[in-house]
């Protein structure tokens, strides 16, 4: 019975230093990371259908498992010029539902230790600070973490309205 199950559930606390798995994503020259816990699926080489009159950050619609998925263009969010040709899509789940994140290309899954994590630098401008969740210091580069919750289209549109 479910009541019994709830009763048995033990609150787990994350240890101080842990390993974090994230999917690396490339956009232009920058390496970004998305926690794999938020990723439902990766859809390769998609061509989203543009939506007239939609907010600029909307990258268009794609067909995903019988549903029509709204995508968010990371390039647009970061103020980069649009890319020609097809892009990869990370299907993400957030509190508001599922949506797609349009990126140039999806790389491998990386594992990093939380000890290598640092919060957003204070000199980062407001707009980016909201989207990023700090960075991991990799051997040869920085990996900027994205916060899937902040990329949710509803939240983005609310933020723009504010």
């Amino acid at each position: 019975m479910s009541t019994a199950a709830t009763g048995l559930r033990v609150k787990e606390k994350a240890p101080v230093a842990a390993l974090v798995e994230m999917c690396s994503v490339r956009l232009g020259q920058t390496l970004f990371g998305v926690p794999i816990t938020h990723i439902l699926e990766i859809v390769g080489s998609a061509r989203p259908q543009p939506v007239p009159l939609a907010p600029a950050f909307v990258g268009g619609l794609v067909h995903y498992r019988g549903d029509v998925l709204t995508t968010v263009s990371l390039r647009q969010l970061l103020g980069m010029p649009p890319k020609d040709g097809s892009q990869d899509i990370l299907v993400l789940e957030s509190a508001g539902g599922i949506f797609g994140l349009l990126v140039d290309s999806v790389g491998e899954v990386l594992t990093a230790s939380t000890t290598d994590h640092e919060p957003n630098p204070s000199i980062l401008d407001e707009r980016h600070r909201a989207l990023f969740a700090g960075a991991y210091k990799l051997k040869d580069s920085l990996l900027v973490m994205l916060d899937p919750e902040q990329l949710d289209p509803m939240r983005l549109s609310a933020a723009r309205a504010a």
Binding site: M1, Q49, P52, L61, G66, M154
Partner: protein, 752 residues
Amino acid sequence: MDELTREFLIESQEGLDRMERCLTDLEERPKDAGLIGEIFRSVHTIKGTTGFLGFKRLETLAHAGENLLGQLREGKLTANRPIITGLLHLLDGLRSILRTIEADDNEGVGEDAVLISQLEKLQVPVKARAKRMAHAKVGATSVPVLPLEPAPAQPAMPDPAPVPEQPVQAAPVQAAAPAPVEAESDPVRSRAQGTAAESTLRVDVTLLNRMMNLVGELVLTRNQVLQATSADPRMTLLSRRLDMVTADLRESVMKARMQPVSNIFSKMPRIVRDLSQALGRRVRLQVEGQDTELDKSLLEAIKDPLTHAVRNSLDHGIEPPDVRKAAGKDAEGTLKLRAAQEGSHVIIEVYDDGAGISVEKIRKKAVERGLITEQRAARQSERELLQLIFLPGFSTAAAVTNVSGRGVGMDVVRTNVEKIGGKVEIDSRAGKGTTLRMRIPLTLAIIPALIVRSLNQSFALPQGALSELVHIPPQQATAAIEWIENAPLYRLRGKLLPLVFLDRLLMPAGEHKMASERDNFIAVLDADGRRFGLVVDGLADPEEIVVKPLSAVLKTIGLFSGATVLGNAELALILDPGSIALKAGVSMREEDAVSVNEGETDAGAVGALEYLLVEAAGRQAAVPLADVLRIEQLPLSRIEYIGYRPVLNFDGQLLPVEDSGGVLAAAEGNPQAQIIVVVCREANRHVGIAVSHVLDVAAGGDLFEAGTTQRTGGVTLLKNRVTGVVDLGAVAELPAGEAQPDECSQIGETVA
């Protein structure tokens, strides 16, 4: 909330729904033991289970109700109006506790003492009961009670109360003596119940939605497989099989979502009862076509409009009994709910035989509120005027009651019904009654749509709003599209139609090709009474599309009602004609103003005839549309002559051709010329009429002039012009080639 409680909630809700239906029926048949038994069981089940789950408050209340019901069942009481009212209150009380449990997982704290004491007061006074009980004890059976039980007279609805049920505070005697009839029918009934329970299954609606989605996906994949394998003969059989299975599967899933309208109709008796009591009306409710089925989500969507319509009928429709008597009507009004399937739609009607709606009142009010101009109002037919009550802010109720009359009624009905692709119409005769008719598509998930192109993208346009298509090639665009300042207009049969360019609407900032640089297709749309032409660059095939909802962020754009995946795997946004009209500023009044100037002069007569407007040698003439069989375009060489008389050998039959306009004569000498012959039915033969152009179809009224009663022709008012009607009867009698002046046109000119 655990599984057990959830199940209990669902079961209890169903039980209470059943109880509600039975209670309203009970009012008409207070002695029906079957009904009482059913109600008793509902309450008893709740009481039994709550005891087990530990919902004390619910148990106490159910217990109080059960006592009263027990007495009813034993026949100690007859279900009179106060008792039924009390039981309805009990029902509401139980429901509200169930709701609390659903929301908070506990039954909350509330005071049910008033309700419980009300229920107790309704019972047989304690003394009397004590006496009876004593008597029963002596008799050791419930024999004295039995004769009152009408069970034997109701073999169809026996009381199948299971034996161990203990009517509360009752002596064990009472429960121990089921009537013989009951005992006999019990096994039958319980067996039937058993099979029903075993063969049905509760399914979560979200699961059904998911299934519908997946089936849509499958349909799409199938389309692609069919396309990919069409060249391979070995795959033909397989893909055809896939095709069939997919179609069957789609149909089954859609069927699984269907529910009978009785699910919402069954809520109405209670509403009617409560309202008619509150308003002092006497109303008989008739229900027809309860088992008509409709998609679950649509059923949900029409629940409110239907309730609204019923409230309206009771408040504004059916008169108080004394008024009805004075008008020579039965003091008891009739409210009829009817559901029926017509093709791919379900029709739901709410009919009342009340006071009806005064068209005059509507006309006055509409003009007063500025919803319509006086000239326009004078021109409109009664039926058209009646539809004005669906406009926002329109209410003819003299007084605002708490039931209806705030002017937010009918427009909400219409908005809700149109939201699901339905239509609503009202028909009323003053003093006789009113019928509200809702036309609901069978399913929401799949709709027929026309695929249009604009901005190099495909868009789906629901067929429901589309009335016709007009093609304007680039070279004609400049002439055909007229402008008043920056408002593009098109003359559609002499009436100015506001145009909306889809590309400009969707991309206000971009650069657009001029209408004269591309093909233009005008989709004439009728949305919420707003008529306009949507200009697109291209048309593709019509398709049955599976509607997919848009994410919240795209919904706020407002112009799209969803998206769909087309057969070629392309995504298309579904256009919402109503929102487009609003966004482009097409209002109903603006269009009215235009038509007042433009003026469509159908004589306003009921049953106006429709005519085919033709032109022959520069003159217009009309042919009754009902007589037109077909319009043929053929080379002049097909026309042969018998003497002077042109004839056409048509399907082996000789067809006399009327050439009063001299069309044939004009084309003579050019055997390559194409002529148009309108083939008509006249009595039991066919005749042809040679014309130079077919112009239009329009409604007109017959206007026979005094002095020309001779049946040689008639005139009709067509598009503001007096137009001659071609007299088909005269075709054969007149010798060809002579004395064939254009009689009709002559008359027309004299009249004009």
